[in-house]
């Protein structure tokens, strides 16, 4: 368990987030929660439902960015707010390049949730996964 899972980073025009984890998957799970937290406080979202996701792409970075963009789509189009990552695994084999995720959350309730930003997308620009002091760090930038 780590003290700090994610933080917003000041950025010239938009919104950047850093997230940490013991491994890549934990960092990615925290990145997605960090993304949601920039839009609406996580503690206002209740875990009433589960939502499964499958993201297939042979390129690891593209797969991670696609997952984060799936979070944007869920919030923007489905009006569904994730607050936890119940399950996340990478199926990495010759025949399978899939990220399998189960999110916990609830439908957006306008009486309790006000979205702070209209996030266009998580960009490829500057996206990076690095190792720092035994932790994996993911840095990404959102276009607002």
């Amino acid at each position: 368990m780590i003290d700090k899972r994610f933080r917003a980073v000041d950025h010239s025009g938009d919104l950047a987030v850093e997230a940490w984890g013991a491994d890549e998957l934990e960092a990615l799970a925290n990145a997605s929660l960090g993304l949601v937290a920039q839009l609406v406080p996580l503690d206002t979202i209740e875990e009433r439902e589960q939502f499964p996701l499958w993201i297939a792409d042979e390129d690891v970075d593209r797969r991670m960015i696609a997952y984060l963009n799936e979070i944007i789509y869920l919030i923007s189009a489905r009006r569904w707010l994730p607050c936890s990552v119940k399950y996340m695994t990478n199926c990495n084999s010759k025949d399978c390049n899939e990220l399998q995720v189960v999110l916990g959350g609830e439908p957006l309730d306008p009486t309790r949730h006000e979205l702070k930003y209209d996030v266009k997308a998580v960009t490829y620009h500057g996206f990076r996964v690095t190792k720092e002091t035994g932790m994996v760090k993911i840095y990404f930038v959102c276009d607002l």
Binding site: D10, H11, S12, G13, D14, L15, D57, D59, D61, R62, A66, N69, I72, Y73, S76, A77, R78, R79, L108, E114, L115, K116, Y117, D118, K120, A121, T123, Y124, H125, F127, V141, D143, L144
Partner: protein, 484 residues
């Protein structure tokens, strides 16, 4: 990937050059149209590196260009312009942006400012109540699923059929408000889902619907042709393709990223993912991008229509007695095939404008007939507190910038810096003290978008005029507006 710093040298008045030889991967020079002050404001901004990055793309013709309002973007800088050879060049979503056909339209009225001063607050409040704004706003124009397909295919023509604009309004729009070759078959279910309910909605961030007054006329003859006079009330709508366009870009970036690998295109920044214009991938993106462009035109026309209804109601006049006229509608984020002079010869090139306005001079066949004797209106929105400008295209734009001019003031500070500078309430009060009434849906918007986070649009216009990209016609001051 860390980019090598590009060498920058002054190359004459209003011109800084990034020589091709300063980076091994550049195929051409970068040219930035700036004065010393705007150049100084770039400081730690990485946009010059992005100008250099664009210069590495295959099939680029002429130079990689940046307009005076340039600042950091994704892939291309904001304010970036580049043209690509029709058969050897590429198309890049990073050269268009997520908000495909984000742009501006300007509507004139026959009403003088003095008549609006009294009911101004009611006008702004009613606009705010009627025009859907803010994150997740919806319902500006309800359409059926078959109608939505028509929006994507026919753009402004759909708006004419739905009665949200007049039959001759498309004549006063770039590309007459519709790009041919849009293919809804290239649109994902996700993009449809994200955009279906967002037609006629403003969105958030820097988008606005603003009531403006013509404060200064700089070119009497052209102003007359554009139907502008001192003291006149106008309305500017600044918005784009909303979630629909964002999702189109999101959907195609991985496609283009794979295509870049497939065609052996080395990219200095993955956000510059691109595909040859002649490739299946390139053509698919182009066809989808056109759908988003057509969506954006209907989006802006719908908000304009809502504004016209509100204005007539508040002014207690019939619509036909308000003297409404669409001055023009311009794209700020687009890729299009255009005819330009390349090394002295006419050539069909794919011009990417990302945060730039098309600017065509008098006599150009793409200028609407009504304006052909003077040139195309170039609309440059400013910030909430200073000014917006109407310029007219100049011949130099064709030789210097593939018929392009700046698109705004250009951001100077981050949103967080804005939040630290002043709270939204203070911004609202300070603007009100200057007679500018603003409404915003989200608490932090006014602080994040306050005038001080932008460069002074007058400086940008001065450089555009200095280079001869466009000539000032009228300065418009804001008197009130709504934001997301």
């Amino acid at each position: 990937m860390a980019q090598p710093q590009a060498t920058i040298e002054r190359a004459g008045p209003f011109r800084y050059r990034i020589p091709q030889e300063s980076r091994a991967d550049m195929r051409t020079d970068g040219i930035m149209f700036l004065n010393d002050s705007l150049f100084g404001q770039l400081r730690a901004d990485m946009s010059p590196t992005q100008v250099a990055n664009v210069a590495t793309l295959p099939g680029i013709v002429g130079c990689s260009l940046a307009m005076p309002d340039m600042h950091w973007g994704y892939g291309f800088p904001i304010g970036g312009v580049a043209a690509f050879h029709a058969t050897e060049g590429v198309i890049s979503p990073g050269g268009v942006g997520y908000d495909i056909n984000c742009g501006v339209n300007l509507t004139r009225t026959a009403v003088h400012w003095q008549e609006v001063q009294g009911p101004l607050e009611r006008l702004i409040n009613t606009m705010f109540a009627r025009i859907p704004t803010g994150v997740g706003s919806k319902g500006g124009l309800r359409v059926t699923k078959p109608e939505f397909e028509q929006v994507l295919l026919t753009g402004a023509q759909f708006a004419v059929r739905r009665g949200v604009c007049g039959a001759d309004d498309p004549l006063h729009m770039e590309e007459q408000g519709a790009l041919a070759g849009a293919d809804p078959g290239e649109i994902s279910a996700r993009a449809r889902e994200r955009g279906f309910e967002q037609l006629g909605t403003l969105g958030a961030g820097n988008h606005f619907v603003e009531v403006q007054v013509v404060e200064e006329i700089h070119d009497e003859r052209v102003a007359q042709v554009f139907g502008l006079f001192p003291g006149q009330v106008c309305c500017m709508v600044h918005s784009g393709s909303r979630g629909f366009g964002y999702q189109v870009c999101t959907d195609f970036l991985p496609v283009m990223d794979r295509a870049a690998s497939k065609f052996g295109i080395e990219l200095p920044d993955r956000q510059l993912a691109c595909a040859p214009l002649t490739s299946k991938e390139g053509q698919r993106y182009f066809a989808a991008m056109k759908c988003a462009a057509n969506f954006a035109w209907v989006n802006r026309l719908t908000m304009r229509w809502h504004w016209m209804q509100v204005f007539a109601e508040i002014m207690k006049r019939r619509i036909e007695d308000c003297g409404f006229g669409l001055v023009y509608d311009v794209c700020h984020n687009i890729a299009k095939f255009e005819q330009h002079l390349v090394a002295g010869d006419e050539a069909r090139v794919c011009v990417h404008r990302k945060g730039a306005t098309r600017s065509l001079p008098a006599g150009h066949p793409l200028v609407p007939l009504a304006y052909r004797q003077v040139g195309q209106p170039v609309l440059i929105p400013g910030d909430m507190g200073r000014a917006s400008w109407v310029l007219v295209g100049e011949p130099n734009a064709l030789t210097e910038s593939f018929g392009s001019a700046p698109h705004g003031a250009g951001r100077l500070m981050s949103r967080n810096a804005g939040l630290k500078l002043r709270r939204s309430n203070e911004v609202r009060e300070q603007l009100a003290a200057r007679g500018i009434i603003v409404q915003a849906r989200t608490g932090s918007t006014l602080a994040e978008e306050q005038p001080e986070v932008y460069k002074n649009v007058d400086d940008v216009v001065a450089v555009a005029a200095g280079v001869g990209l466009a000539r000032p016609v009228a300065k418009l001051r804001p008197v009130g507006g709504i934001k997301g």
